[in-house]
Amino acid sequence: MISSITFGQFIPGNSLLHRLDPRTKVICVIATAIAVVSIVKWYEFAILAVFIFLSMILSRIPARIFFRGLFSIWLLLVVTFSLQALLTPGEVLFGLGALKITREGLAAGCQIFLRLALLILIAFLLTLTTSPISLTAGLESILAPLKRAGVPTHELAMMMTIALRFVPTLLTEAEKVIKAQQSRGAGLGSGEVVERVKGLLPLFVPLFAGALRRAEELAVAMEARCYRGGANRTRMNSLVLELPDYVTLGITFAVLAMSVWLRFQNRL
């Protein structure tokens, strides 16, 4: 059964992070992600981890929601860790036949594990505290300069908003169709490959038919309200950067600058 909570879904709240401008959050997420991929020393990992954990505490979202999200990509984490641990040449710690775990491999594995986990947590910090609507408003505002180059930023943002808006609707619909077909004895997702693919038809045909129906209804509803994309539209909630935004940006850029600076220090 499809869980009614999607991975990283927005959780309404009124914490400091919820109230920040979406542009601040998007830029900070990008900046922190760059910091995470540029660090190499263990103490640097510790600093960034503390920074990210503090942000998680500030979001007032229960830690288990973040860790459940991490757990859902455990396979990716384990596989990348194992590949690094097994395939990096160096001082062999212990080996079993052709499989050798090296000291360097173990270190590299731990680092890639931490890097991925931190990146996921950063992404969650954004999506858990930002509603899809304000997220797309923020992205549209950040991408606005590209409009001069002929990029239809408003239309892109609108498409993203609509797509995000319909994710829960389609999930609910899928769940309903699955239940209905199970009530008629459909064995969804069992048997041979051909059988399995065939078994998905009773799910996908109604789902696509429903999506097309909804798309048409939405188009009619938008036309009925004389919607014209991008034609000097204003927003109900205009985005304004306030003091907390500047402080957050300042701190995040300080962290980024430190990480990048340390990186070049280590190079020299």
Binding site: S4, Q181, Q182, S183, R184, P202
Partner: protein
Amino acid sequence: MPVIRVENLTHIYSRGTPFEVTSLDNVSLEIQRGGFYALVGATGSGKSTLVQHFNGILAPTTGKVWVCGIDVANKRLRRELWRKVGLVFQQPEHQLFEETVFDDVAFGPRNLGLSAKEVRERVFDALRLVGLDPDEVEQTSPFRLSGGMRRKAAIAGVLALHPEVLALDEPAAGLDPLSRRQLMERIDHFRMDRGITVVLVTHNMEEVARWADRVAVLHKGRLAMEAAPREIFNKAEELRAMGLDVPATVELMLCLQARGVPVRTSVLTTDEAVEEIAGLLNRT
């Protein structure tokens, strides 16, 4: 003998998350074999959640549900309940998927592992039961039918399973008055003909008054009342407080009573109302 027994059933969606919702709270009831049982309640009262326990789609969070003697907590047995309990979901016309009406109605019977001949018989039988002409629609794409006909075809898809219990979640919602009445008549006829049990989820009180022999009223996930329709409609005030109403006939009698006319208020159908008023006029 009860065909469905529900004991202290509680169902919580998304347990342990911020989205946790208690949909059913300590509900107990029994549904007798061969009866016409109505489940009523305002939107969000938990009626749909309750019926989904009857054919094994949902399992209780706590409490017990027995359907045809099967404990639905048993996952393996629960998976087989669809053979005994047919469930028609809300707007079932959105679940049609095959290229022809025949194939769509045949989906269930084929899953039962019946022979081609039996499947054909059941499909034709089910289409006739819902009032569709098999020869006319069998080779048509379900997507080319009108909304009402699609609904009928989808209901036929469940009837073709020959269930012991037929549960319908607002089957008549959105249909025109004539189709509504015909559909309900056919369902009731099917019940008496085959001796099956019907569980109807609705908030249309006229339908309850006309067809049900037993009613359960759900309010915010709790069982507020459970009785025969006549007794339920005696509590007009309570029903209104729960966002429900009484049938127009009861309403009329209540208005007459308020004006000091001595009439009984426990009239369920138009015929009964006519009789009551005629009797009153004759007496005066």
